[in-house]
Amino acid sequence: AQTVTQSQPEMSVQEAETVTLSCTYDTSESDYYLFWYKQPPSRQMILVIRQEAYKQQNATENRFSVNFQKAAKSFSLKISDSQLGDAAMYFCAYRSAGEYGNKLVFGAGTILRVKS
């Protein structure tokens, strides 16, 4: 079974600075997807960024980018120019690309606090 580990329960960043959230995963599959989801307090979870395992190029979405290291099974999220609105719980998630890849496996989450 796949597992996702987020080793940082909580992180803080100064507004306008850069922060990196860590995620590692364990799988025997070669084809899969990785996601970062953001869950603000009392608000719904939204997708921040997605990475396909078969793509070597790291995904980017505006201020958000990932460092995907397939051999090391590492998938970190970098947030540049941090804003107060980035404060949230961030979940790393794994999904198999196979026929029965319907399930998202989540990490325990990292609380990101942004200081003004």
């Binding site: 319907n102 399930k103 325990a108």
Partner: protein
């Protein structure tokens, strides 16, 4: 805007009293998921529907049931809520369950269940 709607946002029930949580979607997605998220933990998949096909996770307690009368609506029934069932319940949708597209899941805002 197309979206995933959950009602109510907050639900209080008594120990052992059946409760139903509601989810509706305007995305016309084939798949609807129910997750349980306990405080500061990762969401845990309970079950999902692919159209009318119900798929239960192996470790989902029998106390939890679901109904999907049509494409737009899905209900979570907790037959005899215990104190340990107090949690946030998240509904999510996706276009499919597998394949190359990645099938992003769209989440609703959640229903926070309190059991007295």
């Amino acid at each position: 805007d197309a979206m995933v709607i959950q009602n109510p946002r907050y639900q209080v029930t008594q120990f052992g009293k059946p409760v139903t949580l509601s989810c509706s979607q305007t995305l016309n997605h084939n798949v609807m998921y129910w997750y349980q998220q306990k405080s500061s933990q990762a969401p845990k998949l309970l079950f999902h529907y692919y159209d009318k096909d119900f798929n239960n996770e192996a470790d989902t307690p029998d106390n939890f049931q679901s109904r999907r009368p049509n494409t737009s609506f899905c209900f979570l029934d907790i037959r005899s809520p215990g104190l340990g069932d107090a949690a946030m319940y998240l509904c999510a949708t996706s276009t499919g369950t597998s394949g190359r597209m990645g099938n992003e899941q769209f989440f609703g805002p959640g229903t926070r269940l309190t059991v007295l």
